[in-house]
Amino acid sequence: MRRVLFLLLLLLTAGNASAQGPVTTELFLPFIPNVQFAPVYVAIENGYFAEEGLDVRIRHGAEHDGVDLVAANQLQLGIFGGEQVLLARSQGRPVLSVYEWFQQFPAGVVATIGTDYESPREFSDLAGKKVGIHGRSGVTWTAFVALMNAAGMTEQDFELETVGFNVPELVCLGLIDAAVVYLNNEPLQIDNRISARDCGDLRGYRVFPVTPVVDLVSNVIVTNETTLEASPELVKAFVKAFDRGLQAAIANPAAAMLASSPYVEGLLAPGDAEVLASLASLASLAQLAMDEADRGTMLRVEGEVDEEDLEAQLEELRATLGRGLSTSAKLQSSVLLSTIPLWVAEVLGYSDRVSWVTTAAALQAAGMLDNAPDVDLAFTNRFVPGCAAGDACP
């Protein structure tokens, strides 16, 4: 009898052990699969999520739909613009940021340079010009409103035209003088067209990014209050793995491109994978003398970010990656390398309260926020690994 009971117990224990597999969780990402989501792909491919006991699946869709899915707890995690958290909270959606992925706002204004090669020098020089906007919502509109407010200008100072995502075409056709853009995307497309002599008479352009003018909250990892209360370990595990993915993507963009290729259709052409693999491993070989943890590091960002040094390293990398890659992979690697400066910070993922207050103020000034939400409920730094490890976070 005892033997039977023992066997039954063993069977039950075995059944229980097999049931304790990784926790499947769906992550909502806006837009479509893109190399800009490389840290997520790296965290999956390198097994960082698996090490935390998570099986992360990706779902793409419209940003507002994603926020609602997370708010309704139909999904537990998503990556959205920080301003979306404030807008959603002002309409009663219980969502909050747990990790500020982008440390710089990814949008700004690109303005074509006139025949005098001088103007526009400042954002205010765009008064009276035809400016293309994606629409009166989202990240780019928030950026434009913030720039307008900072310059003491209003919509009436410009000839605004809603152009959707056709900015490079319209700029090259000379149909608009300036446009609100994603800094890591449209300027590169315009560059490519200029290089291919497919951009009309365009002489050049000037970029007015938002971040030096106004510190707005950018893309963040978002969860809901129910998950935060009921499953904080899920949030902690996810953030920890994502943080590792982000560090790895920054350190080795070639490896990040490789990790992204199963997710981003058409990212690499035949032969690109071999080029990237050799570059990624070369970085390891060249640094054999370093500590094991440093091997495979193509880009070194430590402590306080030295922007000049970072830009010099990126420039070198652009040249290296551009050498053997196909045209499309070259463009995508440029997108990735242009995005990395928007991620880096002394403490990855840390949210500064001031930037949340500034963002709320910008949204209110633009008439986009009816009810000002409590910014202190809109974010938390308690899951940021850099904050948990040391005393770098206030």
Binding site: H64, D68, A71, L87, Q91, G92, T162, V163
Partner: protein, 276 residues
């Protein structure tokens, strides 16, 4: 219409015909209110009817609902007119010419099978983000039902009546106006009824891609601000516009096809008054 094998106990009368949809609306509102009260979904996903009504009053009073509705209506009417005229004209020509039929039909079918959302961004690049691109988006979606119904309608013209007109030496114009158009009219108006509702979809797709005004723009704006009551107000406004247009075409149909029931056209044909 009689339904001999139906188990329907509903006795139709002019009063019940008007009351039935109102009763359905009341039932839907009641169900909506119950779902909202029970919080089957959070209120930010399904707001209570009162919140939507409140928003409706607010945007009606500040004039924004009327402004956006008129912008959309303008695109819808322009698209409906353009698409219907082009569809009917091309449908007639295709029915008259085998060469045109062979040359055009594959392209028309291919155009129809391409989702309009795929064309909309291109139309914005080609025609700008103003009324023109929305009207063309709407016209493209309207074109096909009108085209097909015109072709089918023209093919349904009785051969015996065509022979009759030929015997009476009717001119081409007389054949068109006295026989072909009236004979094809039921199908043509059927196509127009479908087109009237599709035109609204076309215009809104255009407004979703790129717009500064219109009900499609209002939905995008409301979504971006997580204002679900405003989304519902705009959606209901679109449904009302589509229903009104459908009603206008139905009314037109009843008037234009009144002769079918009175037999006027048949007696006209029997008089044999055609002149060379």
């Amino acid at each position: 219409m009689t339904r001999p094998n139906s188990t329907d106990v509903y006795a139709r009368s002019p009063v019940s015909k008007r009351l039935a949809p109102l009763a359905l609306i009341a039932a839907v509102l009641l169900l909506w209110q119950i779902m909202s009260a029970l919080q089957v979904y959070p209120v930010f996903i399904i707001p209570p009817p009162a919140a939507v009504l409140q928003k409706f009053v607010a945007v009606s009073l500040d004039g924004s609902l009327l402004h956006h509705s008129l912008v959309t209506l303008k695109a819808v009417l322009a698209g409906l007119a353009g698409g219907a005229v082009a569809g009917a004209a091309l449908g007639y020509l295709v029915e008259r010419s085998a060469l045109l039929e062979d040359a055009l039909t594959p392209f028309v079918v291919a155009l129809q099978s391409t989702p309009i959302v795929a064309w909309a961004p291109l139309l914005v690049i080609w025609f700008g983000s103003g009324l023109t691109s929305k009207a063309i988006t709407s016209a493209l979606i309207v074109f096909f039902p009108t085209f097909v119904n015109t072709v089918v309608g023209m093919r349904n013209v009785p051969a015996s009546l065509q022979d009759l007109l030929r015997v009476h030496r009717a001119t081409r114009w007389q054949v068109l106006t006295v026989l072909e158009i009236p004979a094809a009219l039921p199908m043509l108006l059927g196509g127009l009824k479908i087109s009237a509702t599709l035109a609204v979809i076309g215009a809104v797709v255009g407004e979703f891609v790129s717009a500064d005004a219109g009900l499609g723009f209002l939905i995008t704006l409301a979504r971006s601000r997580y204002d679900t009551p405003l989304v519902l107000v705009a959606v209901i406004a679109l449904a009302v516009i589509a229903r009104i247009l459908y009603g206008i075409v139905s009314m037109l149909e009843r008037r234009l096809l009144a002769w079918q029931h009175s037999g006027t056209r048949a007696s006209y044909l029997q008089k044999g008054t055609f002149q060379e």
